[in-house]
Subunit: 418 residues, 2 copies
């Protein structure tokens, strides 16, 4: 599929993240207005709540867009998702007869503040990248025990904390936590010294379920994708995670990119998961290309200094797709709801410069990385800004996500001072 032309001129650049082919969904406000639903097109945002109010979009009896989240639209199901996309395409395509009515409803992105695009019902994080799991396993348990015995049979996941999911641009406060140095007998309560990122994709559940669903059904239930950074305090994690998994190490914040890129926009970029090393059980088998060819990048910028790209990888490096993860999530009968967010797990590639966490990039701190500024880093330092970028590259167009960024602030001096 080639670039689809829009009458919004900025959307027709081959490298612009938001062409007519994309139409990602966000929540925005401008000075003095309330957050509401919008669609990115080129450098602009179409105020879809205004378009609905003016009768340019009519999808139901109740207003769906004059709200600070896209959940009510998701609840309408796939037929309405398709109808909205078709209508938006018609309104914004070059030659649209309604251009004069739509043009006044565009807001420059430069004047808008972006908010969380949906209400997160529950958040689950997976561990489904083989390079990442092998790297981390090798560091913690040695190369012969790198992958746990279950890893090639199920997409390992754990429940995260929905209340801690924030939109890109939110500052991240370095957490305190209970840590134990190997050279101390007792733990101490201190600010984390090994604060890290995890480069992930997030899949958003758009259709609820109340029992086991197949991989195909799971793919149908996914509404769209965001970039996701699962901030991780490695020193808190190392002390707390046995035997029941990460808890406070992952509860400070998870940042997501501000625009939900729909499954429809990503459809041309579908690709297969890598070859299976052992055959999966039937209920988890691939039934079509359900990963996506999306270039991913992480940059790090010390306070007041330019950014360095510290990793480049691709979503297709994952061993399991989000559809497989969602199918596994329902095997026990677990009810899934509109707005559930599934983190893919850290997306590392096979090479040293394609690793999606500082833990891996600096090999547990033993091999600090050097930034373009000449500074070195093992983990995040106060004032550093970490940014994830994602782009699917089509024939003369790009599907972008908007940056997923966050600046790490120093820990509170006394977390209990009021």
């Amino acid at each position: 599929m080639p670039l689809m032309k829009s009458w919004v001129a900025s959307a027709n650049d081959a490298n612009h993240p938001f062409p007519l082919n994309n139409l990602p969904y966000g929540v925005f406000s401008t000075e003095g207005t309330e957050p509401r639903c919008g669609v990115a097109i080129g450098d602009m945002i179409l105020d879809v709540s205004a378009a609905e109010a003016e009768g340019l979009i009519t999808l139901g009896d109740e207003p769906l867009f004059d709200l600070p989240f896209w959940n009510p639209l998701m609840e309408q199901g796939p037929a309405v998702w398709a109808a909205l996309r078709e209508r938006l395409t018609a309104l914004l395509a070059k030659g649209s007869k309604e251009q004069d009515k739509v043009e006044p409803l565009l807001v420059p992105q430069a004047e808008a503040q972006l908010h969380m695009p949906f209400a997160v019902s529950e958040y689950t994080d997976f561990y489904a990248g083989k390079h990442h799991a092998t790297n981390v396993g090798t560091m913690f348990r040695g190369p012969e025990n790198a992958l746990p015995p279950n890893w090639l049979h199920i997409p390992i996941g754990y429940n995260g904390r929905a209340s801690s999911v924030v939109v890109s641009g939110t500052d991240i406060r370095r957490p305190w936590g209970q840590l134990k140095s190997p050279d101390h007998d007792r733990p101490a309560f201190l600010p984390s010294r090994r604060f890290d990122i995890e480069l992930e994709m997030g899949a958003i559940v758009g259709t609820p379920s109340d029992g086991p669903i197949t991989v195909q059904e799971a793919d149908d239930h996914i509404f769209g994708y965001v970039l996701l950074n699962d901030w991780s305090a490695r020193d808190i994690q190392a002390w707390e995670y046995q035997p029941l998994g990460p808890f406070q190490a992952k509860a400070t914040a998870t940042s997501i990119s501000p625009w939900i890129v729909t499954k429809a926009a990503l459809d041309p970029f579908r690709c297969d998961t890598p070859a299976r090393e052992v055959e999966l059980l039937d209920h988890l088998k691939d039934c079509g290309p359900m990963l996506y060819d999306i270039d991913l990048e992480v940059t790090m910028a010390p306070e007041g200094k330019p950014a360095t790209t510290i990793a480049r990888t691709n979503y297709k490096e994952m061993y399991y797709s989000s559809a497989q993860q969602l199918a596994h999530h329902t095997t026990s009968g677990c009810p899934m709801n509109v707005g559930d967010l599934l983190g893919s797990g850290t997306i590392s590639g096979p090479t040293k410069d394609s690793r999606g966490s500082l833990l891996e990039l600096s090999w547990g701190g033993k091999e600090p990385i050097t930034l373009d500024t000449g500074e070195t880093r093992s983990f995040i330092e106060d004032g550093d800004t970490l940014t994830l970028k994602g782009a699917a590259r089509g024939d003369g167009y790009t599907i972008g996500f908007g940056d997923c960024t966050g600046t790490v602030l120093p820990a509170l001096e006394d977390p209990y001072a009021r």
Copy 2:
């Protein structure tokens, strides 16, 4: 504090679970009516939505009780919680001048169906009973490694799945899951064969927070308690839980008792946590009696047969209080919301007959228990009804919770048949 007398005669029995001293909060409906808020008193339920509509209870400008959950009342904060309790006590006390107005608003419990008493925002489960952790650790890792090194320093917890929390009386469908027998090379997808209970208390967060809070603040933030059964598929858990903790093993269902017993009702039963074996870090130290002396019991009834009590224990056996757990939960800055539910962890006592799970009672299936019917059990069989009971025993009165019960139905023949 002695029994407080009510004009509702059944509430004045020393063994009745719902005297005027209790006043627990639930959500009920009767045939042809919508679920709404009610308060248990003796054998009756006071329809507080009707009492509010008639002007007998006025706590704010917006109606708080004509809703199928207590979250809006919780959001009002501790001063309103106290005002409601005071008002309900005045309305229902022997000699109340408003008895004639309140009496028509009583509904017999026998005619009511009970629903989830609150909307669960997020659910966290802990592992904070030392006898349980020691038993399970001994079975899985041997007696010398029974307690992980962190156990005496932090209340170990993991995030659970709020969507799977159901009210007492809901049937529980035996889950399918990925299992691996030690004598097989590969896992299989099968119905769980080691389906189990976990006897727990659940603490309900009533006041939100957005940063670390102290143990005292955490205690202040708790609204009330329920009985909680964290249904657990031990065979799914054994295969999936390394390295990131339980996931589908715990996602089928968690049952809670239908009445929220308020912290105020439990106040006379406060008691200290057991002696510390190692000193806790300051931010987790006890600062008053924050456990409760509550007798707990589990019964098991095969289909169509009488129930056998299979365990008796007490909430005061826990090593950590819910206040300590909530304080720990916030250390990393994790935002907590109204309606968050914290499972205490399995409450086992020191003796064989005080163990809060079948895994412990049957020692991993090696020592099946014998029911009064003569049948034996290692884990739950189809048709079995498991019931948790709880009671705090005061001077001439009892604070009950209402049973937390569930019957296990056979697994679906084919979980993907539609």
